[in-house]
């Protein structure tokens, strides 16, 4: 399951004009010119904190809307849920699947057995039981509740308690992608009795929640923040959080975030494309860490009947766009040049296989001469492509501008179809809004570290983001086979082949691969620095510097 990042419409977006950028500190991993190595200069974890800290304010880009994991899809909700709640399996900072509340075995290709780890218990001291697990998963799978994850359970036939500490999932078809999902929001286990008693109020400001994580909910006042405190009875005694209280506060404005970080009013954040990143890098008050990202910045081809229906034109456009300028202007260096549609940060398994295949794929760089040739071969010279964008979203507008000049440089005409910031989301949801638009822009990520998580939604027939019935039988076959392959290495080889095909056929065009950015006060350390913070506890080792 994948979704576009919500492009934040900020009322005072104009504010971004202030706070001039300064130099960047030496030793930061900011200098990414030509840096395409999956891991070079990136750290997935920061050194564990050693000193107790009373209270930390952590910024998210807007207020948290729900603490119910079935309604968590976007940065604020994921950050809050992953801080306090735990899923059946867990994604490590490097993306590898690890035991969470349970360990998993696969007795056959259509059965998965999850065994609860000894001593797992909720904040209230009640043990986590198979009944809680069955209830939580069925809840996530139930379309009638209006949650976002029923499609994840498409291949599930039944979920049943098969022992005092065991849950068995029986599948209609082999599905080795399910474990990844169960290490993410749909796999979060909540206490059945509390959820039933709360009913519709579960996870709302009026209701309460019951999870098992190292931090527990203390209070939630919309507009003020979600306050979590250390769980003194956390079942996993190997984990001893150093921070007593963490407040998640919605800070929609980049300049407010920047000044908050500089003055210490905010102690940490995982910001998206932040215009003031260079200023923060230069500051002595904060530390900027770059970790592996799992999201991709992409050009969505939403119309294969127009000019972009020709693969040559898509290739030409991909060759013509100036990706380095996007990395410099939009990401302030916190992104990599792409080789695939997937971000290399997503290589959570089959590491060697992926790394080898990835390194053998060419870096997507600019080549205008070849691009022009392709356009004329396709007979597309002088034709127009229409790009959906919003001039109110400065990052989107910058990338759209890069595509517009790329198109013009190779003999195409480009038309920018601009909508308001609030309506940008309609390109994703409303076929009428997409009518007449050849493509638009997104940052997209899957629920778990697997290149296939994103690709499958784009290229598979019926995929949630397959906007114009893209169908390449070869790619489809590779991905379907991968989904049913138990061995991680073999699965990785199949996915790698699919990625290599996709970057030739370009169902979508990769722009850049953002890295995950972590900013904390200088005296704080230990937060997860990779994109894993979206899906698994990220503050277990957070604490003061010694």
């Amino acid at each position: 399951m994948t979704r576009p990042r919500r492009w934040v419409p900020i009322a005072a977006a104009v504010l971004a004009l202030a706070l001039a950028a300064c130099g960047r500190s030496a030793g930061s991993a900011g200098s990414t010119a030509g840096n395409v190595s999956p891991t070079k200069g990136l750290t997935a974890t920061t050194a564990a904190g050693t000193k107790p800290v009373a209270s930390v304010v952590w910024a998210v880009y807007r207020d948290v809307n729900s603490l119910d994991p079935i309604f968590a899809f976007d940065y604020p909700e994921n950050t809050a849920d992953s801080l306090m709640c735990e899923s059946l399996l867990r994604q490590s900072p490097s993306g590898a699947l690890q035991p969470g509340l349970a360990t998993v075995t696969h007795p056959s290709s259509t059965t998965a057995v999850y065994t609860l780890r000894p001593g797992v218990k909720f904040w209230d001291g009640h043990p986590v039981t198979p009944a809680d697990v069955v209830y939580s998963l069925n809840r996530a799978a139930d379309a009638k509740l209006g949650g976002f994850y029923p499609l994840v359970f498409q291949r599930v036939k039944s979920i049943a308690a098969t022992g005092s500490n065991q849950v068995t999932i029986t599948l209609k078809q082999p599905d080795y992608w399910l474990d990844g999902e169960l290490a993410s929001m749909p796999g979060i286990v909540i206490e059945k009795s509390v959820a039933q008693q709360q009913g519709k109020n579960y996870g709302t400001p009026a209701g309460k929640i019951m999870c098992s994580g190292p931090y527990m909910l203390k209070s939630w006042t919309p507009g003020v923040g979600v306050v979590a405190v250390r769980n003194p009875h956390y079942w996993n005694t190997a984990v001893r959080p150093q921070v007593q209280q963490i407040t998640l506060k919605g800070v929609p404005d980049n300049n407010t975030l920047t000044s908050g970080l500089l003055t210490g009013a905010i102690n940490g954040a995982y910001p998206g494309g932040l215009s003031t990143l260079n200023q923060l890098r230069a500051s002595k008050a904060v530390r900027v860490t770059q970790g592996p990202g799992w999201s991709s910045d992409l050009f969505i081809v939403s119309n294969f009947k127009g000019v972009l229906g020709s693969v040559k034109v898509r290739q030409a456009l991909s060759l013509a766009v100036n990706r380095q300028s996007i990395i410099n202007s939009v990401y302030k260096g916190a992104a990599l040049l792409p080789r695939w549609i997937a971000n290399p940060g997503t290589f959570g398994y089959g590491g060697q296989v992926f790394a080898k295949a990835y390194d053998s794929s060419p870096v997507l760089t600019q080549n205008l001469a070849q691009a022009k040739k392709l356009v004329s071969q396709a007979g597309a010279t002088g034709k127009t492509i229409t790009i959906g964008m919003s001039s109110q979203l400065s990052d989107i507008a910058a990338v759209a501008g890069a595509y517009s000049s790329a198109a013009q440089a190779i003999g195409l005409k480009a038309k920018l179809h601009s909508v308001s910031a609030q309506n940008y989301i309609n390109f994703f949801t409303d076929p009428k809004a997409r009518a007449g638009v050849d493509g638009f822009l997104t940052i997209n990520y899957g629920d778990y570290a697997d290149p296939a998580a994103l690709l499958s939604t784009i290229v598979l027939p019926g995929g949630s983001q397959n906007y114009d019935n893209y169908n390449d039988p070869k790619t489809t076959a590779l991905l379907e086979q991968a989904r049913g392959t138990a061995d991680p290495g073999q699965r990785a080889a199949l996915v790698a082949q699919a990625e290599q095909l996709a970057v030739k056929n370009l169902p979508w065009i990769p722009n850049v691969q953002p890295v995950s950015v972590l900013i904390t006060s200088k005296n704080l350390t230990g937060a997860v620095a990779s994109f894993a913070y979206m899906f698994a506890p990220w503050a277990d080792s957070l604490g003061g510097t010694g």
Binding site: A11, T204, G260, I266, I425
Partner: protein, 316 residues
């Protein structure tokens, strides 16, 4: 007399609220996009989930039916439920209203003290004070709130560290400290306008014949200014101050966002973006009411300040 006047104003308030609620509802309804899209962040939902959400929030009903749902609820004191937070709108508004009220009140106090004060001072004292005030107000009138916010944060929060950069703070002193920069940012351009109008009013009144006569008869300056100049200048000053303060209610959205304050204005923007209709309607009603009440107070003040004005008299 006062009773009839207030009754009429109350009827006008209700009519304004009804019209405003309809116009806002219609505008938001007509704007493209739907709340479910905002809710799901553009990810595709299974048809069954979609149907559940649409039914829960009456999204497929015709416009007038939807409006009626809202209106009949509102008449029973139920402002509805926020789609994004799934909580009562009245609770959500109640938790934010004091931030906005505090901010607007603080800014109003600044405007009244410094705006009127500067205006009177420069109206009475020609020369350096007057020129200085003119220059200062010319500059500050041209500073939009969001620019003032940036500069104030940069100078007083980041560089000097005198005031916090964001948030509400706790306790009265904490609140005051946290609201100072926002209040200054909110007041700064309005303050200049009030100062300018006050100065002009004071100048005009000082030049009047009866004032000049009083001067020539040797009436003490203090008495003269209080009785003859300020009293007569009070009407235009009250008018401009009232309008300015009422406009602060609309302006504060930008300031609240910039300072990450937990107020109604920032919430209104946020709710409008996610098409959370019930919240937008609820906040709008509060803001419209506040606007009308401020104007009512101004009208009442006219009658107090100038006996020639009778309450509720129609314009001649």
């Amino acid at each position: 007399m006062l009773g009839r006047f207030l009754a009429r104003r109350l009827a006008m308030l209700l009519a304004s609220l009804l019209v405003a609620s309809f116009v806002i509802f219609a505008a938001l309804y007509a704007a493209p996009g739907n709340p479910v899209a905002a809710l799901s962040g553009g990810r595709s939902l299974p048809a069954a989930s979609l149907a559940v959400l649409e039914q829960r929030y009456h999204l497929n009903d015709p416009f007038f039916v939807q409006y009626w749902y809202w209106l009949s609820g509102a008449l029973h004191g139920n402002l509805g439920i926020s789609i994004t937070l799934r909580e009562n709108v009245s609770t959500l508004i109640a938790s934010r209203i004091w931030t906005t009220a505090g901010l607007v009140a603080y800014a109003s106090v600044l405007i009244v003290i410094f705006g009127i004060g500067l205006g009177v001072l420069s109206g009475l004292r020609r020369g350096l004070v007057d020129t200085g005030t003119l220059l200062l107000t010319a500059i500050s009138a041209a500073i939009p709130g969001f620019v003032a916010a940036i500069v104030l944060i940069l100078v007083f929060a980041v560089d000097l560290g005198w005031f916090p950069a964001l948030g509400n703070g706790t306790g009265f002193v904490g609140n005051l400290q946290h609201l100072t920069l926002p209040a200054v940012a909110l007041a700064i351009s309005s303050l200049a306008i009030v100062a300018r109008v006050t100065r002009a009013a004071v100048r005009t009144e000082s030049g009047r014949e009866h004032v000049q006569t009083a001067v020539s008869r040797g009436i003490p300056a203090r008495l003269l200014i209080r009785r003859h100049v300020l009293r007569n200048a009070a009407i235009p000053i009250t008018t401009i101050t009232g309008i300015t303060i009422a406009s602060l209610i609309a302006l504060d959205a930008v300031i609240e966002t910039a300072f990450s304050l937990n107020g109604l204005g920032a919430y209104l923007v946020q709710a409008a973006e996610s098409k959370d209709l019930a919240v937008v309607q609820g906040i709008s009603l509060v803001l419209v009411t506040a606007f009308v009440v401020v104007n009512l107070i101004v009208d009442l003040l006219y009658a107090v300040l100038d006996p020639r004005v009778t309450l509720g008299s129609r314009a001649q």
